[in-house]
Every structure is written in structure tokens, then in C-alpha cells.
């Protein structure tokens, strides 16, 4: 990353949007949380969300104070914010990471899969689909979105280097 580029860190239960092509949005250590990146390749507006829990019904007061904590309120806030930057729904490319899951035969500790299900349901209701994702498994992932190119990269804890979740070419159409 050159000195002209700037990185905006998105914390847990938070989000950020931008259409500044020198900006990279990054979020660390998703755990069972989900990172949701959306990007409009025409306007180069995009956003990154780090949601912790599947449903705002868990705590409506908290959802009002901090919508980015929950899948339903967080995704709605993310889309609204990039629309304000000029992005259009039909052009938005959605990528998702996180949702890790422990080795659990009991099925009681399944927060990661529940987050993922909630997201899939919500996007389906709005006729949206995920373009690329790396979800579940035992990995703790970090995610970043470059607004210049729309590239999304992942880093897995305990491993060297990054992997490309979404490359520039796939976002240029």
C-alpha cells in the first residue's frame, strides 16, 4: 500500500462506506461474525460491514443504538449508506467472509451458520445474491475491500499471506 492510500478499520459491530479510490476498508478477526463487502464498479462506491449476531430481535434497543451489530439492521444500513454515495442496487457486487464454526455435534453453538443463514434469507428477500464468499469452517478471517478496484482479500489467522476472494476482473463487468 503506497503512502497515498489510506486504510479505514471497521471494528466489530460497525461499518464504513466510501467512494474514495485511495481508500481500503479493512476488518479484522471475524470469528463467527460476518464481514459483508458491497461494491459498485461504476461509481466505485463501496462499503464493509462487520456484523456479530443474526437478528435485531435479540435486543431491539441495542439495534437502534448500533444497527451494525445485527445482520438485518446492519445490512440495511450498509446498503442505504452506499446508495447515498450514488451506488445502484443492480450493480452492487456482494462478497462475504467469516461465520466460523467450532466442532459442535450438539448444534447448540452454531452462531456462525445462523449468521450466514440470516444473511442469505435477507438477501434472497431483496433479490440479491452473493458473488463470492468464504464462510464457515474453523478459520478466523480478516477481510479488506479496495475501493479503487473492488478487490476483496482475505487473511486467515495462523497462515501467511492473503488470498483473493474477489478479483478485479470479476468486478469490471
Amino acid at each position: 500500500m503506497s503512502s497515498l492510500e489510506q486504510k479505514i478499520i471497521v471494528g466489530i459491530a460497525d461499518m464504513a462506506v466510501s467512494k474514495n479510490p485511495t481508500v481500503t476498508l479493512a476488518t479484522y478477526s471475524l470469528g463467527s461474525c460476518l464481514g459483508v463487502a458491497i461494491y459498485d464498479p461504476i461509481t466505485k462506491a463501496g462499503g464493509l460491514l462487520h456484523v456479530m449476531l443474526p437478528d435485531s430481535n435479540i435486543d431491539a434497543a441495542k439495534a437502534a443504538e448500533r444497527p451494525s451489530m445485527f445482520v438485518d439492521t446492519g445490512v440495511a444500513a450498509l446498503f442505504r449508506a452506499v446508495y447515498q454515495l450514488g451506488a445502484e442496487k443492480q450493480r452492487l457486487i456482494i462478497s462475504v467472509a467469516g461465520g466460523a464454526q467450532i466442532l459442535d455435534g450438539s448444534g447448540l453453538f452454531n452462531l456462525g451458520p445462523r449468521n450466514h443463514e440470516a444473511l442469505n434469507r435477507l438477501l434472497a428477500e431483496h433479490d440479491l445474491c452473493i458473488y463470492a464468499e468464504q464462510v464457515g469452517g474453523l478459520a478466523n478471517r480478516s477481510m479488506r475491500l479496495s475501493l479503487a478496484t473492488g478487490e476483496v482479500r482475505l487473511k486467515v489467522s495462523g497462515q501467511f499471506g492473503e488470498t483473493l476472494l474477489l478479483c478485479k476482473n470479476s468486478t469490471s463487468t
Binding site: I12, A13, Y28, S29, L30, G31, S32, C33, M52, L53, I58, D59, K62, M69, A100, Q101, I102, L103, D104, G105, S106, G107, L108, F109, L111, G112, G137, L138, A139, N140, V156, S157, G158, Q159
Partner: protein
């Protein structure tokens, strides 16, 4: 037991025993806390003394006049606050370093431990049980990792391959490759450092709370605190989520799985306060 001691004795750079912590914990559990003894204990450690004074005189707590001495600072902050600070400072000394054998970077094990401690404290609080105990046991639950990291560093590739191919929990992989695992090593080290039996037991069985027999409630708090830390992203290293779900942990505490998201929200709120506290006292 002997095998555990052999591993512990092999480590060249074991951190110094946090000698204030077990003594302070036992002082605070008495009905009448002896303030002089608390102050005398803390005064042994210059860094902790400075941290207590800094916290007391920070914007978060400061009264009209800054506290001049340790005695006054301890009285103003209250024993519980002081205890948490001592635990935090002692814990960060032991757990702050990177542990390459686990693929853990500097600060990550500490972040994980604090999150687990805060979550365990919140769950214990909701059951009206000793929150300082749950906080401490969860803060120290992964101490064994600093002992085993050296041994694993030499066989990191093997650890990674083994855990990937077998889909087994980290402690099972450790047992297979080393003959010991980090939970029992951590418990043994804390016993050598004269921590009370309940904390030793809860740490030893933090991946399998039923094993802790008479201390299984404390072990269950640590288990769930640890789990919440992973969920919230504060779980690190390769195959970070390689731990087993134990429905018993919920049963022991008579909790429903639906309770976990609410505990996570409370942990999120409390962590922001703790981070502020650590920042002003650092």
C-alpha cells in the same frame, strides 16, 4: 503430573509468577477486606502501584484532588476495581507476547484472554456467583499455551497438517503430537504458583467442564467465556475454531443457548470500558 512438570521446566523464558494475584484474590474473598494488607501487597510491585495511581487520577475516576498515595487510590477505586487492574496488568505481562508455535501474533493471546475473562465474569454475575473468580480463571485459562508454544514451534507444519487432516480439536492434536495439552499444563503451572484449587481445576478442564467435578460451574464459566471470545473474533492461530461444543457447559449452569447472544452484547459493551481502563493505566 511429572510429564507436565518436565514441559514446564524446559521453558527457558517462563514469566515470573504473578505472586500478588492469588494472595489478593484470597484477601478479597474474606468478609472484611483488610485495606492495609491490600495496599502492602500492591506496594511490592512498582508497575502495578503506578497503574493504580494512574487509573485513580485519570479522567475516568478522578475526584477534585488527585490521590496522593496508594492507600487513598485503593480506597477511592474500590477493591473490585483494583483487583481487576492487578489481574489485567499481571495477565498482560504473561500473555502479551507472540506465540509462534500457535500462529499467534503479539497481543492476540492477551486480547483473547481479556475477552474470555469479561464474558465469564458477565455470565457468573448473571448467576450471582463470584465474578472475580470467574474473571481470573478465564483470564489465565490459556496460560499453558505459553509453555507449549516453544515445543510446537519446531513442529508447526506438522501441527497445521495434523489439525487439518484430522478435524480434531486443538487439545486433541496437542495430545497426539506432544503427549500433553495446554489446559492441563496451564492448570499445573497455576498450582505450582499457589493459585487456589478451584482456579487450577477450572483452567485444567476449560475444554471439558464436567471433568472439573466439584468446580465444574467455574470451569463452565471459563468454557463459555472462551467460546464467546472465539465468536467475537478474539480467537487466533491456525484453525482457530478447533474446539469442541460441550452442551454440558450450558446444562451445568442451567442456561439456554439463546442466552449466549445477550452475553455477547454485554461483553461487547464491557470490553469497550475495560479497554479504556487499560489504556489510561498503561
Amino acid at each position: 503430573m511429572q510429564e507436565l512438570d518436565i514441559y514446564i521446566d524446559k521453558v527457558k523464558s517462563l514469566p515470573p509468577a504473578p505472586r500478588i494475584l492469588p494472595e489478593l484474590l484470597s484477601l478479597l474473598r474474606k468478609e472484611d477486606v483488610d485495606a492495609d494488607r491490600v495496599v502492602n501487597l500492591i506496594a511490592f510491585d512498582p508497575a502495578i502501584t503506578a497503574a493504580v495511581l494512574r487509573l485513580c487520577n485519570s479522567a475516568v475516576f478522578a475526584g477534585a484532588e488527585p490521590a496522593s498515595g496508594l492507600q487513598e487510590a485503593v480506597t477511592r477505586l474500590g477493591f473490585r476495581q483494583v483487583y481487576q487492574l492487578v489481574a489485567a496488568v499481571s495477565g498482560s505481562r504473561m500473555l502479551g507476547a507472540a506465540q509462534k508455535g500457535y500462529g499467534i501474533n503479539g497481543g492476540e493471546l492477551w486480547q483473547h484472554s481479556v475477552t474470555a475473562a469479561v464474558a465469564a465474569q458477565i455470565i457468573a454475575q448473571s448467576n450471582s456467583e463470584d465474578e472475580s473468580l470467574a474473571f481470573t480463571a478465564a483470564l489465565l485459562h490459556d496460560l499453558g499455551k505459553i509453555v507449549l508454544a516453544g515445543a510446537l514451534e519446531h513442529i508447526y507444519e506438522e501441527l497445521v497438517q495434523n489439525s487439518q487432516s484430522q478435524q480434531s480439536a486443538l487439545i486433541e492434536t496437542e495430545k497426539r503430537l506432544l503427549g500433553v495439552q495446554h489446559a492441563e499444563i496451564g492448570g499445573r503451572l497455576l498450582a505450582r504458583w499457589k493459585f487456589p484449587e478451584n482456579i487450577v481445576s477450572a483452567v485444567t478442564f476449560h475444554h471439558d467442564p464436567t471433568g472439573a467435578s466439584s468446580h465444574q460451574r467455574l470451569a463452565a464459566y471459563v468454557y463459555l467465556g472462551n467460546m464467546i471470545a472465539y465468536f467475537m473474533g478474539h480467537g487466533y492461530g491456525h484453525q482457530a475454531f478447533a474446539l469442541r461444543g460441550r452442551a454440558e457447559a450450558l446444562e451445568i449452569l442451567n442456561l439456554k443457548p439463546d442466552a449466549l447472544p445477550n452475553f455477547m452484547i454485554q461483553t461487547f459493551d464491557k470490553l469497550q470500558m475495560v479497554e479504556m481502563m487499560v489504556k489510561v493505566s498503561a
